[in-house]
Symmetry: C2
Subunit: 225 residues, 2 copies
DNA sequence: ACCTGAACACCGTTCAAGT
DNA sequence: ACCTGAACACCGTTCAAGT
């Protein structure tokens, strides 16, 4: 495949790959504990690597975060394609949005970075981010076509709204589902709970195994309804 | 009124009041420029005061921010009471929410602090915050009673959702109105633009004079519809 | 080519000394 | 009683020296 006259991109040295992997693992651990603003020096220390190495691999905190987010984006893209098979367009969309919010909320303080990704600014995880967006967009389009989602709305705005919800629910695990339901039904009459806007939480079907929701929709009973 | 045997709360010295005022003015200026994470040392310097004085007046950054937010909360409470006179319950509610989002977005990165206020944790601006909440809640209740807002929804969740929207729209002035409309109509059929969910932006009537929206609903044409 | 870690810069926070 | 600002602590970032 690779033509001879193009600049040779050699396979990275083994220790480089290993360092990168260690840094990502350490970052994940630190971000889970301390949020997306965790000490980078601490990340390097935990990875057993000099700080310089961290900066060489990931020049900015955003780069590091996005490298982790890329996995989440990939999983969401996959999940979106699966949900496209499900028979209920609207429910599929809302379930996917619920997963999106859960993924964004994995580390505290991630939402702003995700919004940066969505805007496409300097996105280290550009491919993954776009794949995710397209998968979600397909679900949205299908719901629109069957008259179960508003026409004339940009899907990107739906994602931004979901990103905002992720921030708002950050320190309050139970809130994510409620706020998403509220946004889904609208601050509008006839909405209430249990209505057409409620899907998240009991997705039931489909496998997928997220594995890392920071507490899932969490034990506490729904405070309204 | 003040009984003689209660601990005397003397009126603060003139220079203390002046320092406080200077610090607040400086903080406002810095936060406008650099967001809610601006350098506190810079605030003290701009106020022409030692850092120690800043910390004496406002032990934490949250305290400083909330002292500024208190004004915004008071204005919103006032505005809410005015809007209660207006004849269209739903439109009044949405207009108020638009003002809320604008106020929260005045400085970048304020939304998390507002959400803390709403949760009532160590709220320096507790009275103002509660007054604002109650004013908003009255608008919401009226809209519910006339069947123009969902029953069984906690108003606090509506505010949290609006807080999330403020974050999501932070770096993108035009988005606030769009996202709020979207949340108001719901990610639901028959919503589209211009529908029953659209009020913000052209409130037209009522005075109130906010004065400090970071760009208002801003010149740019609405990207959808 | 990559890694290391000391060195530098910056900022938040405290507190002894001043008024 | 309040203010000041030097001193301390911590962390992000760079870069000369090593492998």
């Amino acid at each position: 495949m690779t033509s001879d006259d193009m600049p040779r991109t050699r396979a990275p040295r083994a220790d480089v790959r290993r360092n990168r992997a260690r840094l990502l693992a350490a970052a994940r651990e630190m971000f889970l504990r301390d949020g997306a603003g965790a000490s980078l020096e601490g990340v390097a220390r935990l990875a057993g690597v000099g700080v310089g190495t961290l900066y060489r691999h990931f020049p900015t905190r955003q780069d590091l975060l996005e490298a982790l987010l890329a996995d989440a984006y990939d999983a969401l893209a996959q999940r979106g394609r699966e949900l496209l098979e499900s028979p209920e367009p609207r429910r599929a969309l809302l379930t996917w949005l619920d997963d999106f919010v859960a993924a964004v909320s994995e580390f505290r303080g991630t939402a702003p970075s995700v919004l940066v990704s969505l805007r496409g600014e300097r996105c280290e995880a550009f491919r993954s981010c776009r794949a995710m967006r397209e998968a979600g967009e397909a679900l949205f389009a299908r719901a629109q076509e069957s008259g179960e989602a508003p026409a004339g709305v940009a899907f990107l705005d739906v994602l931004k709204l979901a990103g905002g919800i992720a921030t708002a629910a950050e320190r309050e695990p139970g809130a994510a589902g409620r706020l998403l339901s509220l946004a889904a039904s609208g601050i509008a009459p006839g909405a209430a709970s249990g209505g057409s806007g409620t899907a998240p939480g009991e997705s039931g079907a489909a496998p997928g195994e997220h594995g890392t929701s920071p507490g899932g929709s969490g034990g506490a009973p729904n405070p309204f309804g």
